[in-house]
């Protein structure tokens, strides 16, 4: 059988030998007693064996083999579930330290066919849920069906992530520096920002890709002076869609290591008021780039609230206190980082992030902004990756505001996060 195989392979590869047949007169100089024909046969055999091994390496196949360099150490043993976890120790200045199992997230993925798929993401925040306000949350952050038509045009419907900013769609712990998410991605862009909706997405060639959804709008009654849009999403809980919001993102990913994007959100928010209307618009730009051991990312986001004056009046009549909601909020950050041991199995990273975020950047006419909400943050930190999917983080966060009356606390944070 082996002879037959060798013979067959020889048939496939021996053609070039015709042009390279050794000189018939060339006898083996090591063994002058050998007949020239025998030497020639041995030489041909050697070359056939060589070509056989080359052919086995190079033959293309319809069912390509998987050939990672070290299968055992490179592929995680994953079951039917995927997910990530985020476990934190936070020690704010002048306060007791807290251990918080911040996020426990499970992802589900099922293909009905190549064109029809389901993805779900279920999150438990802060480890415990009860009816009390101070407890955690169970959130269905994603649960959608994808209808895949062609690369340029696909449909998606269900519980969706708003395609705004860097973190909202890309928040697995090993993917960002720092124990906690950036402040801009908390107060200006309310990550994790999800709600019911439907839309289209796809790639349009040359590294450009887009998504465009209609989603349930934000709730104006949940916007605050301190935390901005952080709690303003309806989160798919019987979301009011008297008016839907529109959102979209355009990204360029055509060059290695580069990702730049722009996002928007626009929607009416005053569905809880019979009279009066407000509208929230978000404009966002971001970029990420890495080359070798160096990486940098940055984001800019601005929120526009039309009708903020009416909104404050209506909320004051309801609650008795003017919520002091701004007509504009703004935030940005820049974060350079280093991974001095690129491509090694065990990795470390160091970073510094500067953030500026102001939830009262512009106020309705006649209202002065409160200076304590104009804040900056410096975050210094490092990460150690014993595995690319496991990260131990430490950072020190310095937050300052523009007020001479209200102080702010620094904090030391340690986090353990993993993806599986």
């Amino acid at each position: 059988m082996r002879t037959l195989t060798t013979f067959s392979i020889a048939m496939l590869v021996a053609g070039p030998l015709v042009a390279q047949t050794p000189n018939p007169s060339a006898a083996d100089p090591q063994n002058p007693e050998k007949a020239p024909a025998e030497t020639r046969i041995e030489e041909l055999e050697r070359r056939v064996r060589e070509l056989e091994s080359r052919l086995l390496e190079q033959t293309p196949s319809a069912i390509p083999p998987s050939t990672p360099s070290d299968e055992r150490s490179t592929v995680s043993q994953t079951g039917p579930l995927s997910g990530y976890m985020d476990f934190h120790l936070n020690r704010p200045e002048r306060e007791d330290p807290q251990l918080d199992f911040h996020r426990f997230v499970l992802l589900f993925n099922h293909s009905f066919s190549d064109r029809l798929r389901f993805v779900g993401e279920l999150e438990l925040e802060h480890g415990f849920v009860s009816g009390l306000e101070a407890s955690g949350e169970v959130e269905l952050e994603q649960a959608y069906l994808d209808f895949r038509l062609k690369p340029e045009l696909n449909f998606r419907a269900g519980m969706l992530l708003a395609p705004v900013g860097i973190i909202n769609e890309r928040h697995e712990p090993p993917t960002f520096n720092g124990v906690e998410r950036p402040f801009v991605d908390t107060f200006i862009i309310p990550t994790t920002w999800f709600d019911a909706g439907a839309g289209i997405y796809g790639t349009v060639g040359n590294g450009w890709q887009y998504r465009a959804y209609v989603m349930a709008p934000l709730d104006a009654t949940k916007i605050t002076a301190d935390e901005g849009l952080h709690e303003a999403s309806q989160k798919g809980f019987a979301s009011n869609v008297r008016n839907v919001a529109g959102t979209g993102r355009l990204e360029y990913v055509g060059l290695p290591g580069l990702n730049i994007g722009a996002s928007f959100w626009q929607g009416k928010t005053g569905f809880n008021f019979r009279r009066g209307e407000s509208r929230v618009g978000v404009t966002e730009f971001d970029g990420r780039y890495h080359t070798g051991c160096f990486a940098v990312r940055g984001e800019f986001a601005q929120v526009f609230i039309d009708g903020a004056e009416d909104l404050n009046d209506l909320l004051q009549r309801t609650a008795g206190v003017n919520p002091n909601i701004a007509s504009q909020m703004r935030g940005f950050y820049v974060e350079p980082s280093l991974r001095p041991l690129p491509r090694l199995k065990y990795d470390v990273a160091a970073f510094v992030r500067y953030e500026n975020f102001d939830t009262q950047f512009r106020m309705p006419e006649g209202v002065l902004p409160l200076k304590q909400f104009d804040r900056t943050a410096w975050v210094f930190g490092a990460s150690y990756f014993p595995d690319p999917d496991v990260v131990l983080k430490i950072d020190y966060t310095i937050v300052r505001n523009q007020s001479s009356l209200f102080g702010s606390a620094d904090s030391l944070n340690i986090g353990l996060g993993w993806w599986f």
């Binding site: 048939m11 998987s66 360099s69 890709q209 491509r343 990795d347």
Partner: protein, 123 residues
């Protein structure tokens, strides 16, 4: 001994003579190595153009976690090792002109569904 030598020589001679045409067909196939980097949640490059008959050898590397590389509509599906742990290779014979979608076949995060790309095989 003499008969054995003759038989081996004859076999090889037959092999040489019978397959002179074989290399003609294989040499008409261009071979092209394309390096693809996978990173949550993109492939770079995400649009690959080759000519019909090209044997494409994909060399696949990840910048973060395990990803999959699957050519939709075929059995071609490999796991890309995590960052720093080597690369996977996959050979694709671009026989028929058309567009072939490839995608990440291993759940890699919240944006896993966006991780797709396109191979265009031109005439």
């Amino acid at each position: 001994m003499m008969g054995n030598t003759f038989f081996r020589g004859a076999s090889l001679l037959c092999a040489v003579l019978l397959v002179m045409v074989a290399p003609l067909s294989s040499s008409s196939q261009d071979r092209k190595v394309i390096r693809v980097t996978a990173e949550r949640f993109t492939f770079t490059p995400s649009h690959i153009k080759v000519k019909r008959g090209t044997v494409v050898e994909f060399r696949l590397r990840s910048e973060d976690t395990n990803h999959g590389f699957r050519i939709v509509g075929s059995d071609a599906n490999v796991i890309i090792p995590k960052r720093g742990r080597g690369e996977a290779t996959l050979t694709f014979l671009a026989e028929t002109p058309g567009r072939y979608t490839f995608e990440c076949s291993k759940m890699c995060g919240a944006g896993h569904g966006f991780m797709r790309g396109l191979i265009t095989v031109d005439e």
